[in-house]
């Protein structure tokens, strides 16, 4: 486990040296703070607009970080040949993959914590209420990002950096549309077509399962079972995707 921790810490350190990360985080923070200006344009509940913009920024910029990091996650190690130095040590390939994944997750977590705190403070200043549900929304976005980061790791192993980023982005987009894919199965006539689409649906992550933004914004009750199953769904997906990434990395010729 020490090896995994060391690789994760190193990935985190490497990422925070990247200026583009600060650019994304800076943009996210500016977006959340400037949501107050958008709120001023509305007639009615200003806080709703601030929360909507803040939660969307939270999701969007975390996704961007995951997509961008997938580009440099493994390719940089391979290009600079540091991967050979790491793997020459008593570090197994699965530990390397897991370490890289956890490093990416820690960057996204740091970003999410920062945006959540800024959003909570903005809402506190504007509405005078400490909305702890925003924290919950942050945690659920984190679950979504856990899945996305796992895919970013898989694509980083599987393909070239830019293509990997595009594929991670595609997973994000498709992940938010997969519920419509499921609806499509009800519209189609053939049983075989329906079965194929159903299989595709289950193979793709349904990222809408982690979307509780409407409930948080409108202060609605959230059933505990839904949250519980969402947590399980996220972890199961992460394990499967990381397992596939490890499988590919194990047999990969790094030369």
């Amino acid at each position: 486990m020490r090896a995994v921790r060391a690789i994760a810490a190193n990935t985190f350190r490497e990422a925070i040296r990247d200026r583009i990360l600060y650019l994304f985080i800076g943009f996210a923070v500016v977006m959340v703070v400037s949501s107050k200006l958008f709120g001023m344009l509305t007639v009615g509940d200003e806080t709703k607009i601030i929360k909507d913009i803040g939660l969307a920024a939270m999701q969007f910029f975390s996704m961007l970080i995951a997509v961008m990091m997938s580009m440099i996650l493994i390719s940089r190690e391979v290009d600079s040949r540091t991967v050979f130095i790491i793997l020459a040590k008593p570090v197994r390939r699965w530990q390397f993959i897991l370490g890289k994944y956890l490093g990416l997750v820690s960057i996204v977590t740091a970003n999410l914590i920062l945006i959540t705190v800024v959003l909570m403070l903005t809402v506190l200043l504007v509405a005078g209420e400490l909305d702890l549900m925003l924290l919950f929304a942050g945690v659920m976005t984190m679950l979504e990002m856990l899945v996305l980061a796992a895919f970013a790791t898989l694509f980083a192993v599987l393909t070239r950096p830019i293509l990997g980023s595009l594929m991670t982005l595609a997973v994000f987009v498709v992940g938010h549309m997969s519920a419509d894919l499921w609806l499509l199965t009800r519209q189609l006539p053939g049983a075989l077509t329906r079965a194929v689409i159903a299989i595709v649906y289950y193979l793709l992550p349904n990222l809408e399962r982690f979307n509780f933004r409407a409930e948080v914004v409108h202060d609605l009750a959230i059933p505990g079972a839904v949250v519980g199953w969402a947590v399980l769904y996220s972890f199961a997906f992460v394990v499967v995707v990381l397992f596939l990434a490890n499988l590919r990395f194990r047999g990969k010729d790094l030369k």
């Binding site: 009615g44 909507d52 969307a56």
Partner: protein, 286 residues
Amino acid sequence: MKRTLASFAVIVVLLGLVVLSEVRLGEITREDPLGRELLYLPSPEMLKIMSLGNPGLVADVLYLWSIQYYSFYQPHERFLYLETVYTLITDLDPLYVDAYRIGALIMQIQTGSDQEELEAAVRRLFDKGLRNLPDNWQLAEAAAWDFFIRFADRETALHYAEVASQRPGAPPRIKRMVGVWRDKESAWTLDDSIEYWRRAVEGAENEWDRVLCMNQFYDAVTARDRKTLEPLLDTFSARFGFCPESWEDLIRAGGLSRVPLDAFGDPYGIGFKDCGLVAFKKFKDQ
């Protein structure tokens, strides 16, 4: 140094050109070659998909845009697709209270078009809001006042006031509003009114509410008694040529069996000017 200065001068000149062209372009009015811009509003289903899990944010953006757009007097098609726009916003975020409220308000500003159709559109928007927000009494109250003031449609106003009064958390004043409107519109019998106000007094949430409901209850009882007693006073006056000095005169003449009492158990008086019933409304601590 010379080259740097020259480059700087060129940049300044080019920037000046940029500003100048932008100002000039802004001054030239152009017709929209594609016609009405609102024609290209996508469907809510499409927008939901495109929002990637943020339909609430898209609803906010559309809502903010609609406020700006519909408060701008220039477009000749200012109110075109108004209902479509607000239906779209509320499809994207069905719990967006402000969108229902402000959407209906903007629709009401509209003049010149078919007022019946307009009223129906406002009603559709409010009904949709009330369906999607079953615990919200404020929207129902807003609908009641809008129909009462803007459209002078008291029947619909009363309907929304009743909806508001039945919603959880509705303040007592809504219940009183319903009762008063029903009384004014004679939308029920006096017995119904008495029963309604009696229950309102029993269910009053505070002393102020109780006093106000009691006031209405008293008036309803008096109105009912006036209906019975004033014809008796008229008959007495016609028979004897003068108004009875007291209820005892009426009892002696066989018109009444006992002195009539008001809602608080106090005797009514007789107005000698018009020979009518006089009620002495004095509230008791009950």
